[in-house]
């Protein structure tokens, strides 16, 4: 029987395993150094905040794995020998595979700042990071978070629930300004401050200052200011976790290089999820996609290939979502921080300053290109259909009410939005 080994039990690896099991009888082994069972990485923050316990973050009950003949191994892969198709594990075992799926995820970035290895300085990605955070913040009164992205704001929310004063250093002019257009970025910025976070925009980290026990005591910014703190969270992005492949013939760049079918240069070895890097970017997508959804989608795809139906990773329209403290965010299609040459957009914001909607369209063809929604829930299925069918902006505006996915009895804003957008469109045309 063919033996498929999957390194990594995150969403990518587990999705692949589940779908291979659905399609075949192959022997499947999942190796993880992080946890005995699959848990939802995106839910780590809720454990720290006391919304859930670790057990609640496990999407499947523990009996699921044996029942579906998915062997789980808690170990670290030290090296891969692609000639003999063997894996050397830390606990001494050597495993032989027929097909190998690398789904090893990411590690937090740190850009060589002085003091970045001090006690009380860390990133947030893994279960172990969470345990460390618990330890590191036990006696913290003031924390500094470096980086204004999705993990940064999550970490800020987490620390605030424990009554720490939090300062956020953000390089851009606005929070997540590299991704969000200024209006949306400012909306989030206001909300961050509403939660009593000291948000420092256009502020960069120079170095981390430590005391005689190598414990962090302050950070110094590029403008020369010292901010004293007992904890520093580094949330300046993540990079593929591929260190163990150093001496293998598997080609890597920032991530493990794969073709469209998620195959590496070595036959029988695949890479999916955060750790994979497309040799050529797909459409507007980044070559390395570090999102829950893309990990899942690559898992679904590679399972087909492994089970004899070779398939290219061909993701549909881009989508993503997040929650910034109390404000939910959904995006469908492409909305750039800076509009491209041919793009124009319509923007509506509610008077409470916590809800907004931006529709982006092509100025020439009037085609709908994407949207950002804050504080509004929209139907994925409809937005997806609009993008696939290349619907016109007029059509989208008209169909907006049917895309509403807010809970019942919520105040509806579509009439407002439609009125304003139709007017704006006419003005733009004139």
């Amino acid at each position: 029987m063919e033996h498929v080994i999957i390194i990594g039990n995150g969403i990518a690896g587990v999705t692949a395993a589940r779908h291979i099991r659905k399609l075949s009888d192959k022997q499947i082994t999942i190796i993880s150094k992080e946890s005995d069972h699959f848990f939802s990485r995106t839910a780590l923050m809720y454990i720290y905040m006391g919304h859930m316990k670790y057990e609640h973050t496990k999407p499947y009950e523990d009996h699921f794995w044996a029942k579906n003949r998915l062997e789980l191994l808690r170990d670290t892969v030290l090296s891969v020998n692609t000639d003999t198709r063997e894996l050397q594990l830390e606990k001494g075992t050597v495993l032989t595979y027929d097909q190998l799926i690398l789904a090893t995820g990411s590690r937090p970035n740190a850009f060589g700042w002085p003091g970045q290895n001090a006690k009380g300085v860390q990133g947030l990605y893994s279960l172990q990071d969470l345990e460390l955070l618990e330890e590191n913040t036990k006696h913290t009164r003031h924390a500094v978070i470096v980086g204004g992205g999705l993990i940064g704001i999550e970490l800020a929310e987490m620390l605030r629930t424990r009554h720490m004063d939090v300062t956020m250093l953000v390089r851009e002019k606005d929070f997540w300004g590299g991704v969000l257009p200024p209006k949306e970025a400012q909306l989030v910025g206001r909300h961050i401050r509403e939660h009593h976070i000291d948000l420092r925009l256009e502020t960069e980290l120079e170095e981390i200052l430590t005391d005689e026990h190598n414990q962090v005591k302050a950070v110094k910014t590029k403008s020369g200011e010292d901010i004293s703190c007992g904890f520093v969270g580094l949330t300046v992005g993540v990079h593929p976790n591929i260190g163990f492949l150093q001496n293998s013939p598997i080609e890597t760049d920032r991530g493990i290089l794969v073709n469209r079918a998620l195959e590496t240069n070595v036959p029988g070895v695949y890479a999916i999820g955060d750790c994979a890097q497309q040799r050529e970017a797909i459409g507007e997508r980044k070559p390395v996609e570090q999102v829950w959804y893309t990990g899942r989608m690559m898992g679904e795809t590679v399972a087909q290939t492994i089970c004899g139906n070779r398939m290219e990773y061909a993701p549909g329209p881009w989508f993503n979502s997040a929650k910034f403290f109390d404000i939910e965010y959904q995006t469908y299609g492409w909305v750039w921080a800076k509009p491209k040459e041919n793009e124009a957009s319509l923007y509506w914001e509610h008077e409470d300053g916590k809800k907004c909607l931006r529709l982006v369209y092509d100025k020439d063809s009037m085609r709908f290109l994407g949207l950002n929604a804050f504080g509004l829930r929209l139907r994925h299925e409809l937005c997806d259909a609009w993008l696939k069918k290349e619907a016109s902006i007029d059509h989208v505006i008209e169909a907006l009410p049917s895309a509403n996915f807010d809970p019942e009895f919520y105040q509806k804003h579509e009439q407002d939005i439609m009125r304003q957008f139709s007017k704006n469109l006419k003005t733009a045309a004139a």
Binding site: S40, H51, T140, R162, H195, G316, A322
Partner: protein, 529 residues
């Protein structure tokens, strides 16, 4: 520099401890409760009306103050910080104390009301005496243990309802739903029946009737003393009796068809009302395992069978052989019951079998055969005892086991250990029947949103009915479950806008081949298979 931290601690800490305001509010509420406790121990209060008002008002004020301190100053949004750190909401020591306290209260209430001061044919003493002035003001009669209980129950729903509304003020579904349960409890369960009692006279007396209580939740509705008093009360009584029957066969199925069982369980019902308000801090304690779900199905449906047999036996026991006293005769009644059961059974098992779990199908067949055999034996053997069992024994054991121990002692007493819906989930025959209707022909469902689920588990964790919502959401499948009471919290706590409760068309309500959006269409087609 933003400075929020107000206490003197030098470090960050998990949000488990109470703030000064919360402590004050708790103390105030406890003060009110203290008066009641003193009354239990027969401390004499000179002006009962004043002391009772004082006690009830301080309890309400304490709860509202607590809510204000907890939620008012913060931006609106989900407020579950520290739920699993606090002893009371995570099965810690306080939870066990609290469970013991409520359980004890229910045991005394149901089985030893004399310790609360109930005196038959004489002046009440203790806590019941404290409630006499209020009871006399409402119905004209002295208080009973049930009046004390009803008052405290209503006050709990009212005060904790305000707390709940504060907590979920950003969510209009939750706000409106909570106003609804507060209204139905106060008006229908508390004030109207008390005022109805005022209309009673020597010749004319209505039974105590909470109009929103429908059989089999009020399993006693068709007992002889009630039927007799309905009939004795002329048109009004007959109308109420007809209303009681219509509620079962018409109002309930129609409303459940349109809105799902939530119209009752989380909008109207008193048990649901308490669970959603006072019980809200415990909703996360329900067991989500598949094993628990299996136990639930067997238990709750067994109760339905039990209550059906019991009610049939009881009604049968007082009906005559001819239509002298009652219009209905014994055999017509039994044949009628058999006919209704057969109709429902044939419809469900023959036409809707694909929507039933396998064990539900077997169970239904088993129960149906048993009941039919019993009815058959009776009709053809001519014994006086229905089902060879004494109706009175059935009635009293149902009242003891289900009516008192399950719905009261365990149902509420175990809030801090097994969550707020233990009774609704494992024991309530009304919920089971509504659930059966919801599963098989309602328009209600919880839709999932494309591919947006991140499997975080908030929905499952905060489902008070122990439904593993995530199991469906992470497959992209709509949630159509008989146990769902439509409280809407899964949708509220979802950080990615994945869940929406809605009354939609039947088409596509049950996803036979769910799929998560994201990949190219050709792969999605393969995944659907």
């Amino acid at each position: 520099m933003s400075e929020v931290k107000k206490n003197m601690a030098l470090t960050g800490e998990p949000p488990a401890a109470l703030s000064a305001g919360q402590k004050g509010a708790t103390a105030l509420g406890m003060l009110g409760l203290g008066v009641l406790l003193l009354a239990v121990f027969n401390v004499h209060f000179p002006n009962k009306g004043l002391w009772l008002s004082l006690s009830l008002c301080t309890m309400v004020a304490g709860i509202i103050w607590f809510a204000q301190v907890t939620y008012a100053g913060k931006p609106s949004g989900i407020k579950n910080d520290g739920v699993w750190f606090k002893s009371i909401s995570s099965r810690g020591l306080w939870a066990w104390f609290f469970a013991l306290f409520i359980t004890g209260f229910y045991v005394v209430l149901y089985f030893f009301p004399q310790y609360l001061g109930l005196v038959k044919d004489g002046e009440n003493t203790g806590i019941i005496a404290l409630f006499d002035p209020l009871s006399k003001a409402l119905s004209g009669n002295p208080a009973s243990q049930w009046f004390v209980y009803g008052t405290l129950y209503t006050i709990a729903i009212f005060a904790f309802g305000i707390k709940f509304i504060w907590k979920y003020r950003h969510n209009r579904y939750e706000v409106i739903r909570t106003v609804s349960v507060m209204f139905f409890q106060t008006a229908f369960a508390f004030i109207i029946p008390e005022l109805m009692a005022r209309l009673n006279s020597e010749s004319w007396s209505l039974p105590y009737y909470d109009l929103k209580n429908i059989w089999p939740l009020n399993y006693y509705n068709f007992e002889q003393y009630r039927i007799d008093s309905f009939i004795s009360a002329g048109t009004v009584g007959t109308a109420l009796l007809i209303f009681g029957i219509l509620s079962i066969f018409v109002i309930t199925p129609v409303l459940t068809y349109k809105y799902g069982k939530r119209w009752y369980c989380s909008w109207v019902c008193g048990c649901g009302g308490l669970a959603e308000t006072a019980g809200d801090p415990f909703r996360q304690l329900s067991d989500k395992s598949v094993r628990a779900w299996k136990i639930e199905r067997w238990m709750v449906h067994s109760v339905v069978v039990f209550v059906t047999i019991m009610t049939t036996a009881v009604v049968h026991s007082y009906l005559g052989e001819d239509s002298g006293k009652y219009w209905l005769t014994r055999s017509t009644f039994l044949v009628g019951v058999a006919a209704v059961l057969t109709l429902v059974f044939v419809w469900a098992v023959v036409f809707k079998r694909d929507k039933l779990q396998k064990d539900a199908r077997y169970g239904a067949i088993g129960f149906f055969v048993v009941i039919m055999t019993l009815i058959g034996i009776h009709l053809f053997s001519g014994t006086q005892q229905v089902f060879l069992l004494e109706a009175e024994k059935l009635r009293s054991s149902y009242g003891f086991l289900i009516g008192a121990v399950f719905s009261g002692v365990i149902g509420v007493g175990f809030y801090p250990l097994m969550g707020s819906r233990v009774w609704c989930r494992f024991g309530c025959p009304m919920a089971a029947i509504l659930g059966f209707q919801q599963k098989l022909f309602s328009k209600f469902k919880i839709s999932t949103n494309g591919g947006q689920c991140i499997s975080c588990g908030n929905c499952s964790t905060y489902c008070e009915m122990g439904i593993d919502v995530r199991a469906y959401a992470q497959k992209g499948q709509n949630i159509v479950r008989s146990s769902c009471v439509g409280c809407g919290i899964c949708s509220a706590v979802c950080p990615r806008g994945v869940l929406k409760l809605e009354n939609d068309s039947h088409k596509g309500r049950v996803d036979e081949s769910p799929v998560l959006l994201g990949n190219a269409d050709n792969l999605l087609d393969l995944l659907k298979k």
